[in-house]
Symmetry: C3
Subunit: 154 residues, 3 copies
C-alpha cells in the first residue's frame, strides 16, 4: 500500500532544513480560493545557510540537480511551517523553475527534475506532477536554483 | 462570417509540428477548475527538431519572431494532443514569453508578438489576447523562445 | 483611523505616470473569475518615458529600488486607467519581480521591495502583501525592472 504524503514527509524529516525567513516584503505562502501559492524558494540547508553557485561553471548538472531537490525540501519546510500539515493538499498545479546558469548551460529541465522527482515521491506520480517551465536567469545571492509553485487544496 | 477557432486550426493543420515529448518530469497540460494550464513550450518544427539560437546574435528580430510563432504552433499541437479539440477553450488568460537573448537585445515584446498574433488569429482579437510579459533569459538547449500560458475553459 | 486604498492613491496622485501604451499584442489588465491580472509593467515616468539601465553597473541598489517603486506607480496608473477605481480590489495575491541585472548583482529581493513597500502602503500590511519571486534577467528596451501581478477582487 502506498504511503500518504504525510508519511513520506515523516521519512524526510531528518533532511528538512528550517523554513527560510523572508528575504523581502512578501508572504512565504498564501492560501486563497482553494489554492496554496508558495513564494520563490531557494536551497536552504540544515544549518540555515543557502547553497551557492552557478550551473555551468561552479556547479555541474548533478550538483545543480541536488540543489533543486534541496529547494523542494525547503519548500516542504516552508509549507509545514507557514501552512501546516500537507493533508489538505490535493495536488501540485504549476512549477516555475529558475536556474542560475551560464549562457551556454543547456540542461535546465534536468536540473529542475531534482525538485519534481521529490514532489512526485511525496504527492505521487500523478498528483505530485503539474505543468512546469524550467529556464535560466540570474538569482539573488548567487543561489543556484529558485522555484515558485502553486498547489490545489482539497 | 468569422471562422471558429477549430476552423482556423484546420487551415493551420499542415503547419503543426508534432507535440513535443516532455523534456522532464511534468505534464504538458493540466486541466483544473475550468482552466487549462500549458507547460513551457519551445519551437518544435515539423521534423520533430527544435529551432535553436539566441536573439541578438544568432537570430535577428524577424527570425526570433518566427520562432515565437512556431512556439504557438507547438502549443496548439500540444493542446490538440494532450487536451483535445479547442472548442471548450473560452479565452487566453495569461502568457509568459521568454526570449533567449543577448544582454543588449531590446525587442522581446516584438518577438513574442509572433506567438500573440497567432493566438489572436485562432481565438479572435479579444479572446485570443490576454495579459502578458515578454522578457529575456537563458533557455534549455539554446532554443530561442519558450512560452507558457493559461487558458480559460467554458 | 487608517486610510482606504483609494485615499492613499489620492495622496499619490501627483506622482502617478500616464498608463503606458501596450508594447505589443496583449491587454494591460484582464478581469476574470474574481481576479485582476496585470501584464508586466515597466517604470514609466511622469513625462511618458521609461527609466533605463541595469542594476549592478548603470544603477546601484537604491536607484534600482526606486525604479521598482516607479513600476508600482505605473501599475497603479494602469489599473486606474484600464480597470477603474481600486475599491473592488481585495488583496494582492502574487508578484513576479524581474530585475535587469548583471550576473553578479545579488540583491533582487531588496530591489523589488520598492514595489512591495508601495503596495503595502496602498493596500495595507496584510492585503498589500502576497507571494513573490524576485530574480534577474534581461528586459525590453533596457528598462531596469518589470513586474507582473495578480490581485483578488471582492
Amino acid at each position: 500500500m502506498n504511503q500518504t504524503p504525510a508519511q513520506v514527509l515523516e521519512s524526510l524529516k531528518s533532511e528538512l532544513p528550517p523554513a527560510p525567513p523572508p528575504a523581502g516584503l512578501y508572504k512565504p505562502v498564501l492560501v486563497l480560493d482553494g489554492f496554496l501559492y508558495v513564494s520563490g524558494q531557494g536551497p536552504m540547508q540544515r544549518d540555515g545557510t543557502l547553497m551557492k553557485g552557478r550551473a555551468g561553471d561552479d556547479l555541474d548538472l548533478g550538483q545543480a540537480k541536488a540543489a533543486a531537490r534541496q529547494v523542494g525540501l525547503t519548500m516542504l519546510s516552508t509549507i509545514l511551517t507557514h501552512f501546516g500539515p500537507v493533508d489538505p493538499i490535493e495536488r501540485l498545479v504549476k512549477t516555475f523553475g529558475m536556474v542560475n546558469a551560464t549562457p551556454d548551460f543547456p540542461d535546465h529541465p534536468l536540473v529542475i527534475n531534482g525538485f519534481s522527482e521529490l514532489m512526485a515521491s511525496v504527492f505521487g506520480p500523478d498528483k505530485g506532477v503539474g505543468v512546469r517551465s524550467a529556464v535560466g536567469m540570474m538569482l539573488p545571492g548567487n543561489i543556484p536554483v529558485e522555484i515558485e509553485a502553486i498547489f490545489k487544496l482539497r
